[in-house]
């Protein structure tokens, strides 16, 4: 061992102090790094969210373009073919002394198909989307589905004009369309209730049906449609959830913040 002399004692004290200072410097460096890292990760998260939003908007824009194109094609191609067919049937009917019931039914069915096709192509058209009003278009959509008489949709709303821009309204409309399609496809309901109301600074939208309901536990294995609805709702800064109604049907609850 070294002799305990004053100089050595001072040296040991000095070295201990030095080690402490070095330790403090390292701790300060670690804390500084951690703070910078938190700021960096926060920035990264914001950028990712922004990127996701832009990606979603682009997807929606592309989808709307595709819809517009599809609507145009339906109107110009299939619509024209059906109209020509109807014209031929009419010509045939005129040349016949007695029109068979089956031909009459075929002509009526064809007329209904043309009407439905026009309504559908209208709902896809860009022009229709540019002057978009969710309430008005939802009414038209409800009428279109109700006219099939396979199902009844009741639509209630407090507002005549929603305090939302055209694009969010289009997104909300697509969510409702998806929800209706899901109802018809999976729950086979008799009645679907759609209601839109405001509560404070929130817009509340409920789509409820009296169908066979769904297994809430099985929601983890969700399909593309539901994921789309969730993405679109989050894009609008809102929330979406699925509940089982007291009657055993399904209720889709959407809440959106209002500016």
């Amino acid at each position: 061992m070294l002799p305990v002399k004053q100089d050595l004692f001072v040296a040991v004290i000095f070295i201990s102090l030095l080690v402490t200072i070095m330790g403090l410097v390292v701790v300060a460096a670690v804390i500084s790094y951690k703070k910078k890292q938190d700021a960096y990760l926060h920035q990264l998260k914001l950028m990712k969210e922004d990127y996701d939003k832009q990606l979603m908007w682009s997807q929606i824009e592309m989808q709307e373009e595709a819809f517009a194109h599809l609507g145009q094609e339906l109107h110009d191609d299939i619509g024209q073919l059906l109209s020509s067919t109807k014209l031929l049937i009419n010509v045939t009917q005129r040349s016949m002394k007695e029109i068979p019931d089956t031909l009459q039914i075929a002509e009526d069915t064809l007329s209904t198909a043309i009407q439905h096709l026009r309504a559908l192509s209208k709902s896809f058209s860009r022009q229709w989307l540019d002057q978009f009003s969710l309430i008005e278009n939802l009414k038209a959509e409800v009428d279109r589905i109700n006219s099939s008489r396979a199902i009844t949709i009741k639509f209630t709303h407090e507002l005549t004009v929603l305090p939302l821009q055209a694009e969010p309204q289009i997104i909300l409309f697509r969510i409702i369309q998806e929800a209706i399609q899901n109802c018809i496809k999976h729950a086979r309901p008799q009645v679907i209730d759609i209601s839109i109301r405001t509560a404070g600074q929130q817009l509340i939208l409920i789509i409820a049906d009296d169908g066979s309901g769904f297994d809430k536990a099985g929601m983890s294995s969700i399909g593309m449609g539901i994921r789309n609805m969730q993405h679109r709702t989050s894009l609008l800064g809102g929330e979406i959830r699925w509940e089982v109604t007291t009657a055993g049907g399904t209720a889709v609850l959407i809440t959106l913040p209002l500016e």
């Binding site: 070294l2 002799p3 002399k5 100089d7 050595l8 001072v10 040296a11 000095f14 070295i15 030095l18 070095m22 410097v25 390292v26 300060a28 460096a29 670690v30 500084s32 790094y33 951690k34 910078k36 890292q37 960096y40 990760l41």
Partner: protein, 212 residues
């Protein structure tokens, strides 16, 4: 030769060999040169020293080279242009001042104590700057950052060297043998820490590459 005191030579060689496998990183390349120069210097000192010749001249050149390489390594982790410029200028100034002092004022046969002390203070300053300039680029902790380990290695080594050198002459006056023993123990301890941390730094370069 005291075996355990000088066993850090093994660590020095191990560090040099490990760095040879990671030469794709610029910092490791410079570190490899530094370690190679250190090995050559130690060999020359051992050879000349045993023959009783003035081997201090080797240190006069080694100090200049060591400072230049360490400063360039630490400079690579700093993004601020002004600091980088200052570090670059300091290399040139230090080299001029150190060589002037060695060959004009102090003489090349004397131990370059002043040069080493100035070098140590400068490196400690750059280490402090480097510590607070480490920029996070992922979720990885600072302990996986190679620059952190390289900086810590140089910081501990030079801070320990400065403090030991400051007290060495004072202790020598009281008890030469024990003072030299004390110096050798602390010197080897700081060397062990230096090479262990340098190895950790080089390994972190590899980990970063894998995670990418």
């Amino acid at each position: 030769m005291n075996g355990w005191v000088y066993a850090y030579y093994a660590l020095l060689i191990a560090c040099f060999i490990i760095s040879l496998f990671h030469l794709e990183h610029r910092e490791v390349k410079l570190l490899c040169v530094l370690l190679g120069v250190s090995i050559i210097t130690e060999i020359i000192v051992e050879l000349i020293g045993t023959e009783g010749l003035g081997f201090f001249i080797v240190y006069h050149f080694f100090v200049v080279l060591e400072y230049s390489l360490i400063t360039i390594i630490l400079r690579s982790g700093i993004r601020d242009y002004r600091w980088r410029l200052l570090m670059g200028i300091s290399i040139f100034v230090f080299c001029m001042v150190s060589l002037f002092y060695s060959f004009v004022l102090g003489g090349w046969r004397a131990f370059p104590g002043i040069n080493i002390t100035i070098e140590s203070f400068l490196v400690i300053c750059w280490c402090l700057l480097s510590f607070f300039s480490i920029t996070p680029d992922s979720e990885a902790s600072i302990f996986r950052h190679p620059v952190f380990w390289l900086t810590l290695a140089f910081f501990i080594y030079f801070a320990a060297s400065v403090s030991v050198n400051a007290f060495y002459n004072l202790l020598l006056e009281n008890d030469t043998t024990r003072a030299r023993h004390f110096f050798a123990v602390l010197n080897s301890l700081s060397n062990y820490l230096l090479y262990i941390m340098l190895i950790k730094g080089v390994v972190c370069f590899r980990s970063n590459r894998i995670s990418l």
